[in-house]
C-alpha cells in the first residue's frame, strides 16, 4: 500500500499534502480505471444457497449477470489476468473454472472431498485449493487444469492466501489453530504458526510481510510476521470473525454474529471502529487502490460497499441467496 507507507514515513502535514496530491491524481485517472486496471470494476459474488455466481458492476452497484454454478459455491480466486475465476463448489467436490468475460463455466475439476478456500499465485497462476475434509491443499496447473500436487497441512484448512512475490502460500488450518506456510518452489510446508482458536480467513498485506487471520472461536485476529514465522499480536474483534481485508493502513474484519465490520488501525493494532453492516457478514475484499471495501452479507443477501476512508457504508446491492464471496472476488 504505497499511500500507507508514505504516510508512516513522513511528518503529518507533509503526509497529508502528499496524500491529497495522490488522491487528486487518482481522481483524475478515475474515468480510465476500467481500462488502466487501477481499480476493479466488477465483483463476483458466490451465492451459496442460490448456487449462483452474481456479477456486480461496481460503478452502478447493480447485478449485471448471474451464472448458475451447482454445488453450493463458496470460495473464489481469480487468475492473474482476471480472465478466469476459480470457484470452489464443496457440495460437488469440485473447482469450477469460469470465463469472466463471457460469463460461462469452462470446466469443473474434481479436487477432493471438501474444497473451500482458494488462491492463485501471481506469477505462474498455479491454483491452491484448501480441502476442509481431506486436510490438504490441492495444487492445480492453470493450463492443463489438472491436479499436479497435494500438500498435507493441518486439520480443516479453510482460507488460503499467497504472498505478492508468489513465494509463499499460507493456509488457515481451522481445527489445528494454526497457519501453515508453504514454499511454492518445493511445495512443502516450511513452518506452522500457532494462531488463535479456529482461524478461518487469512489475508496477506501488499508488502508480503504480515498475514492476518480471523479466528472464529477466540474472536480475535492474529497478526503473523511471515518471515519470522510467528504470531506477533492478537487483536480482539466482534463475535465470530470470518475474514479480513486490508486498505488505508487498516484491517477490516467481518464479525458474523454481531453484524459489524471491525476496523483495526495497523500501526497501533487497536480497533478504531465497528461499522454496522447487514446480517452475517462474510467475504470481504478491498479494491486495489484502497478506496472501497466490499462485504457480502450472507443472511441479508447483500453486497455492501464501505468507504475505506470515512468508514461508512455508502452503498449496497441485493444479490442471490446466501452470498459468501470467500476470497479474492474483485476484478
Amino acid at each position: 500500500m504505497p499511500i500507507a507507507t508514505a504516510k508512516s514515513r513522513l511528518g503529518g502535514a507533509v503526509a497529508a499534502a502528499a496524500a491529497a496530491f495522490i488522491f487528486a491524481f487518482l481522481a483524475m485517472l478515475a474515468p480510465l480505471d476500467a481500462h488502466a486496471g487501477l481499480a476493479e470494476h466488477e465483483a463476483l459474488v458466490t451465492s451459496q444457497l442460490a448456487e449462483k455466481v452474481a456479477f456486480v458492476d461496481l460503478a452502478t452497484l447493480k447485478v449485471s449477470a448471474e451464472l448458475s454454478v451447482p454445488g453450493k459455491p463458496a470460495g473464489i480466486a481469480l487468475s492473474p489476468d482476471r480472465s478466469r475465476a476459480y470457484v470452489t463448489a464443496p457440495e460437488a467436490k469440485e473447482l469450477v473454472v469460469i470465463d469472466t468475460e463471457n460469463r460461462t463455466v469452462l470446466k469443473r475439476i474434481a479436487t477432493g472431498n471438501g474444497p473451500l478456500g482458494v488462491a492463485v499465485l501471481p506469477g505462474d497462476g498455479r491454483i491452491f485449493v484448501a480441502d476442509w475434509y481431506d486436510h490438504r491443499l490441492t495444487v492445480i496447473d492453470p493450463r492443463s487444469l489438472k491436479v499436479i500436487a497435494r500438500i498435507a497441512v493441518g486439520q480443516s484448512p479453510s482460507g488460503v492466501a499467497v504472498t505478492p512475490d508468489g513465494k509463499r502460500v499460507l493456509s488457515a488450518d481451522r481445527d489445528s489453530h494454526q497457519v501453515s506456510i508453504i514454499d511454492t518452489a518445493s511445495l512443502r510446508v516450511i513452518k506452522t504458526v500457532p494462531v488463535g482458536e479456529r482461524p478461518f480467513g487469512v489475508t496477506i498485506d501488499a508488502a508480503g510481510k504480515r498475514a492476518y487471520t480471523a479466528n472464529v472461536k477466540s474472536n480475535d485476529v492474529s497478526v503473523i510476521d511471515i518471515e519470522l514465522g510467528e504470531t506477533i499480536a492478537a487483536v480482539k474483534v466482534g463475535r465470530r470473525p470470518y475474514a479480513v481485508a486490508l486498505a488505508q493502513g487498516r484491517a477490516f474484519i467481518t464479525d458474523q454474529y454481531v453484524e459489524t465490520v471491525s476496523v483495526i488501525d495497523l500501526n497501533d493494532l487497536k480497533v478504531i471502529k465497528k461499522i454496522s453492516v447487514g446480517a452475517y457478514p462474510e467475504g470481504i475484499a478491498a479494491d486495489k487502490v484502497g478506496r472501497f471495501v466490499y462485504v457480502a452479507c450472507w443472511e441479508d443477501n447483500t453486497l455492501e460497499r464501505i468507504d475505506a476512508r470515512s468508514l461508512t457504508v455508502t452503498g449496497r446491492v441485493d444479490v442471490p441467496d446466501g452470498p459468501r464471496a470467500f476470497g479474492d472476488f474483485l476484478r
Partner: protein
C-alpha cells in the same frame, strides 16, 4: 403437533459422531413469521424477555442469568427433559430484536450445529405486528454424506417446525387475550 415433533427428535437413533469440530459444507437459513392482531409493544412484552421462552409450547422451563444483557445465558428444558443451552449476543429493546446462539445442544434434540437466531417484532401499524424468527445453522452431521436424519434437509425441517409451532401458538394465545 410440536410436542410430537420434539418427541420424534428425542427418539431419533443415536448416531456416533466424530470428535472433530468441523461442520457440514453449507450453512442453512430459515425464516418464519406470523402476523398478530396486536400492537408490536404488546407482542414484544410477551416474548422480549430472553430469560423466558415459556411462551413456546415445547418449552417447559427457562432458567438463566444475566437478564437481557449481551452475554446472558439461558437453559431451556423441553417437554421430555432435554436441554438446550443458549447465549444472548445482542438485545435491542427499541428495535424489538434479540440475537442469540445455541451454545450447546445434542443433535438428537435438535439436529444442528453453530446455530444462531434472531427474534424480532415489526410494527405493521393499525394495531398489528409481525413476529419474525430467523435461524442460521449447519446440519447435525459434521462430515460429508450425512445420514438422512442429520442432513441439511433434516436440520431445516426441525428448525422450521420449532419456529412454526412457537409462532402459531403465540398468535393463538395473544389474540385470545392470554
Amino acid at each position: 403437533m410440536l410436542r410430537s415433533l420434539t418427541l420424534g427428535l428425542l427418539l431419533m437413533p443415536l448416531v456416533i459422531l466424530s470428535a472433530a469440530h468441523a461442520h457440514g459444507p453449507t450453512r442453512q437459513k430459515v425464516t418464519e413469521s406470523v402476523e398478530i392482531n396486536l400492537p408490536a409493544d404488546k407482542v414484544w412484552a410477551a416474548i422480549g424477555n430472553f430469560q423466558d421462552l415459556n411462551w413456546h409450547p415445547a418449552i417447559e422451563k427457562t432458567e438463566g442469568e444475566g437478564g437481557n444483557e449481551p452475554g446472558a445465558k439461558r437453559t431451556l428444558t423441553l417437554s421430555g427433559g432435554a436441554n438446550i443451552f443458549e447465549e444472548l449476543l445482542k438485545y435491542d429493546a427499541d428495535g424489538r430484536l434479540m440475537k442469540y446462539i445455541i451454545a450447546k445442544v445434542d443433535v438428537k434434540v435438535l439436529p444442528v450445529n453453530n446455530y444462531s437466531s434472531i427474534l424480532r417484532v415489526e410494527d405493521l401499524g393499525d394495531g398489528k405486528s409481525k413476529v419474525v424468527w430467523k435461524g442460521a445453522f449447519y446440519r447435525g452431521y459434521m462430515n460429508n454424506d450425512p445420514p438422512e436424519d442429520l442432513s441439511d434437509a433434516a436440520a431445516v425441517k426441525a428448525v422450521t417446525g420449532v419456529y412454526r409451532g412457537g409462532l402459531e401458538e403465540l398468535k393463538k394465545k395473544l389474540e385470545a387475550g392470554g
